[in-house]
Symmetry: C2
Amino acid sequence: MTTELTHAVLPESDIPTHWYNIVPDLPTAPPPPLHPGTKEPLQAADLAPLFPMALIEQEVSTERWIEIPGPVRDLLRLWRPSPLSRARRLEKALGTTARIYYKYEGASPVGSHKTNSAVAQAYANAQAGVKKLSTETGAGQWGSALAFATQAFGLECEVFQVRSTYDSKPYRHVLMETFGATVHSSPSDLTNAGRELRKRFPDTPGSLGMAISEAVEVAAMSSDTNYSLGSVLNHVLLHQTVIGQESIKQMAMFGETAPDHLFACAGGGSNLGGIAIPYVRENLEGRAAVHIVACEPKAAPSLTQGEYRYDFGDTSGMTPLLKMYTLGADFVPDPVHAGGLRYHGMAPLISHLYHEGMIDAVAIGQLESFEAGVMFARAEGIVPASESNHAIAGAVREARKATEEGTSPVILIGVSGSGQLDLPAYQEFLAGRMADS
Amino acid sequence: MTTELTHAVLPESDIPTHWYNIVPDLPTAPPPPLHPGTKEPLQAADLAPLFPMALIEQEVSTERWIEIPGPVRDLLRLWRPSPLSRARRLEKALGTTARIYYKYEGASPVGSHKTNSAVAQAYANAQAGVKKLSTETGAGQWGSALAFATQAFGLECEVFQVRSTYDSKPYRHVLMETFGATVHSSPSDLTNAGRELRKRFPDTPGSLGMAISEAVEVAAMSSDTNYSLGSVLNHVLLHQTVIGQESIKQMAMFGETAPDHLFACAGGGSNLGGIAIPYVRENLEGRAAVHIVACEPKAAPSLTQGEYRYDFGDTSGMTPLLKMYTLGADFVPDPVHAGGLRYHGMAPLISHLYHEGMIDAVAIGQLESFEAGVMFARAEGIVPASESNHAIAGAVREARKATEEGTSPVILIGVSGSGQLDLPAYQEFLAGRMADS
């Protein structure tokens, strides 16, 4: 029986003590990353110039549960457990027979799920004696998360922000600067990669792939600077599994066993992985049969339109080769507002799950995503991030289908962040000036 | 004994069922509002052209507890109870011997305490068959709260936003428009009051007093439009008492009896009243001895620099005469970033409490407020609203004093809202371009 609750709020003692690593539970192992020179499987030592050993160990771990260090868990207490809520007013607005829930990560410092991994990465680097982290950011959510986390552990932070969002969402870099970070519009003229990219693509809006090239170069050139990535890699998805672990407990507080459908937006894959991977385990162990749907933008449809092959994670070819669904490392997505989803590839782990048929995917257009976002904002009082609107749109499709068919499925939406700093995009949409894509 | 808790989170069943009206508990009655023509005490009927009877009854009520209507309480569940947290990392950053707590209203729809009254006012007007509400907004927090609340109850909403924030904080009116409201920069040429004010003060940055004149005129000219005020009046402060009622329970969860000092920012007085009035009752009944401090901006220091006399609530002299601390209805504060505090007067109820020595007040400069705000953001991961920074600065002063004196007082801060949409102000501060005042 479901309850009358609106929000399921867990006590602090229910913040997960461990990250969940799905690798040992998978029927087949995901293909390893390859060294770009030798094309041989990458060795842990190959990653040492960029990452501290603690994160490399997490990246290649085959342990099911990895303990969250105390200082990281202490910092997570600032905003975790995050709420999981019944979207009663959205249900009413849709007139749907479905029951809709959402897990909201937007109440974290800086307003998205990204902080979950940022604090883990900043801590591991601080422990290893690193002085500075360099990184890329698309919408600015990851950059501001890392800016917050680095200052919490006494590190410096240098961020390469994709040009299109640096210009269109100026508040984001102020937020990073408020936390003490240095921010550049990318491609910049501060790196070899940036200068070359500006020559090759003079009027480019930038891309996550380009910004990664710049940030990796900065870290590779300095002995006390490491690189930090906000998505794609195993250890990043690992840090995000706190979302799904909490969700499983919270759905039970509503009297629901598990959702029938789970929708989460997917760019690099960290948000989707965070909420979905613990549910993949539920499915594998027969406790649930959750239909997991990656909601990607039509502007960067790596899962639904890309090829499954080895490719570089960045535009300049500086990263290891990753087996993933990719649109090609050179692919520059249209400058849509969901800057966090403008990535040419998809996390190898998510790509593997998709390839094995364990998750599903849909591509959502920009206009459909904002229609859903405005409806959600008016109903639930939360303006969702442009990225999250894709997940909401996927859920709205499913809820409408259920109403037509007279069924009552349980739908869970992973709302990855707040859209307060995306308001210029909402303005364009409301004024009828937004392009579809 | 205090606990290790970071956030005290109350269950939904602890959302207050009643608003607390302090009037019957006061040793002396606050002076009544006067009719501007007759100078006689105002009658309930005088307010009927602007407000529905349910709100007029709340305005003049002498009942101690007024039940919160079911549909209002249902909507409050979207974000209440709000968290009350121990600012452990701020304490560490200050190296203070004080214990610091904060009640955070920024997680509400639109990001401030204003939503608490907006839903109550929109509901009462909808019940009375009103079709539209007109209002003013300073920083945009009240306007966006009312925009959310009106659409929730099927009303239209027209907002006059003070020119200086309309221009400097453009995201705010997009937020109102996302919720379906119409927004004008004030003074506008849409009203007689606006046109006259533009003639008298051609280059004015606008003020709350001017915007109130415009909104009142719109309501007075139309039979199906009412006016809605976001602060100052008794019924608005009444709606905000849910904040203080929750705080009392939450401080107990930390093992604290009551704070020794309570800091809250004060412009019109609704935020201060909301958290402080339930503590005034604790003081009156001998359960506590809370030192309550109104933190006002040096740019609009009504309590610390104003006169206690009858004055108009607006610039054009359209409202009843209110007995309050005032800088004069003509006073136009400097366009500081805490737009929500740029009011020439102070709520009559707060003015009365101050006059009777039941609360204290300090004036805080803009630079000191932002220094405190940045420190808070870096420590707690929450960028506070420009208004809230005044309360944080007051608390920081007290915490430093305690450390010098070797005492360990309990300090509670009312953090009225989120500053994500105030980031241009943070940018000015970080760049060293912010003027003091």
